[in-house]
Amino acid sequence: MIDLRDVHKSFGTNAVLRGVDLSIRKGSSMVIIGGSGTGKSVALKCILGLIQHDSGAIIVDGSEVGSGDRDAFLARFGMLFQGAALFDSLPVWQNVAFRLLRGRLKRPRAEAREIAVEKLRRVGLKPDVADRFPAELSGGMQKRVGLARAIAADPEIIFFDEPTTGLDPIMAGVINDLIREIVTEMGATAMTITHDMSSVRAIADEVAMLHDGVIKWTGPVTQMDTSDDPHLDQFIHGRADGPIEAVR
């Protein structure tokens, strides 16, 4: 469903992506792992067209990203940003229901609010959070509101940039289950970035490891532990020495 072919992206002299090849099947859950600053977030943003890639091809459902109707393209996506990126001028429920309050998915305000409260419940937030403003929430709560917003319009393709970072272990478990549920029950295609290995095992069908601007290893999560890729091995066991340098 999503194919990246030899994708390159540099910021000035900083070559971040140097030929990424990756494909994600429809209805599967892909998890991207890799060191901090290797360009995982940049890769997601390239797929969404938020950042223009320099060369290579990004193909979603057979057509190149950036060609065709951009509104229709984006309407299929949901995205949780690493920093939540909530609109701080709007109360929580209007953040969650943003898509449902305007544009082609617009519906009555009361109904939109109901959906928002239901999505908040699914990410473990009580209804009274709905009328607060993002600035009044803790970091982990903001993250979960961002997650609720990403899934509010039941998108077909969902990107989660570090969904469990900053959450307590129980809440992380709730979110992992939620992501799994969205993929298996609603048939969505998910792409998740995470540093948390227990999350990887809970969410992933497939795993891809990004390092040095390329995908070093990709395969089913079941083969992750038996692979003999030294980069992957070092990463999943969190060892300081190995082929990945600690200072990057």
Binding site: L74, L86, F87, D88
Partner: protein, 260 residues
């Protein structure tokens, strides 16, 4: 090689300047195209009207009041040198309506509104809120820029009108309170002296200055660099650009309205 280095630097600076003018012009066209195309975000527009118009009233009123008062004092003192003290009402009216009203309101809007628009949008950019808007199928130009620009174009002329009236009133208070002018005669002289063109030019300047102020805030916000530093630079740059462009536009408009 060495001798041409300063020339090359000058050339580069000129090119960079021209390029930035081009970018601003393209941004302005883009903003206008979003103003006239649906969808129209009514709530954003209403908030912009409130912020740019209503909440600017105190600062605009006070600025105009003090300036009108000072103007009356100066004209009286200056006029006394050739026995022309009596022209205070006429010159205050002309000075406020043609020049000081629009310019002062424009500059106050640049200080108050341009800076806040730039800081707000730049912060949204830095915290990925602009990216989030895009992923939620909402065009940032349409959602953020168009309502603010439209609101400013509509509401700044009204502010200028209010500023003109309060400025004249400031002159009136000073003139009748301490310079010994007859209140009724002062008002009559003011009303008889002002022409339709004075008022039209005043309001037209307001519309242009409002456009410049909102546009610069949005442009610098949208093109902000990363981090708190980026927000700071965007805010500073937006106010500088808005103030200079407002003064330049004022010169041009005065030329267009009154010298031909």
């Amino acid at each position: 090689m060495m001798a041409t280095a300063p020339l090359a630097a000058l050339g580069r600076a000129t090119l960079a300047f021209l390029a930035s003018i081009g970018r601003v012009a393209l941004f302005a066209l883009d903003a206008l195209s979003h103003v006239v195309r649906p969808p129209f975000y009514g709530r954003e527009f209403a908030i912009a009207l409130l912020n740019i118009g209503w909440l600017s009233l105190p600062v605009v009123g006070l600025t105009a009041l003090f300036t009108g008062g000072a103007l009356a004092l100066q004209i009286y003192a200056g006029g006394a040198r050739f026995n022309a003290e009596a022209v205070v009402p006429q010159i205050v009216a002309i000075g406020m309506v043609r020049e000081l009203g629009p310019v002062l309101v424009g500059l106050m809007i640049a200080a108050r509104v341009t800076s806040s628009i730039a800081a707000e949008i730049a912060t949204m950019k830095v915290t990925e809120q602009i990216d989030a808007l895009v992923t939620l199928s909402t065009h940032p130009m349409k959602y953020l820029t168009a309502p603010r620009v439209l609101a400013a174009v509509l509401v700044v002329p009204a502010l200028v009108g209010v500023g003109d009236v309060i400025g004249i009133f400031g002159g009136y208070i000073v003139a009748t309170g301490s310079l010994g002018f007859n209140p009724a005669a002062y008002l009559k002289n003011t009303a008889n002296f002002l022409e339709a063109l004075d008022i039209v030019s005043s309001l037209a300047k307001g519309a242009v200055f409002g456009f410049i102020a909102a546009l610069m805030g949005c442009y610098f916000g949208m093109t902000s660099g990363r981090g708190a530093q980026g927000v700071g630079r965007a805010t500073k740059g937006s106010v500088e650009a808005a103030a200079v462009l407002i003064l330049a536009a004022n010169f041009l408009l005065t030329g267009i309205f009154f010298s031909i």
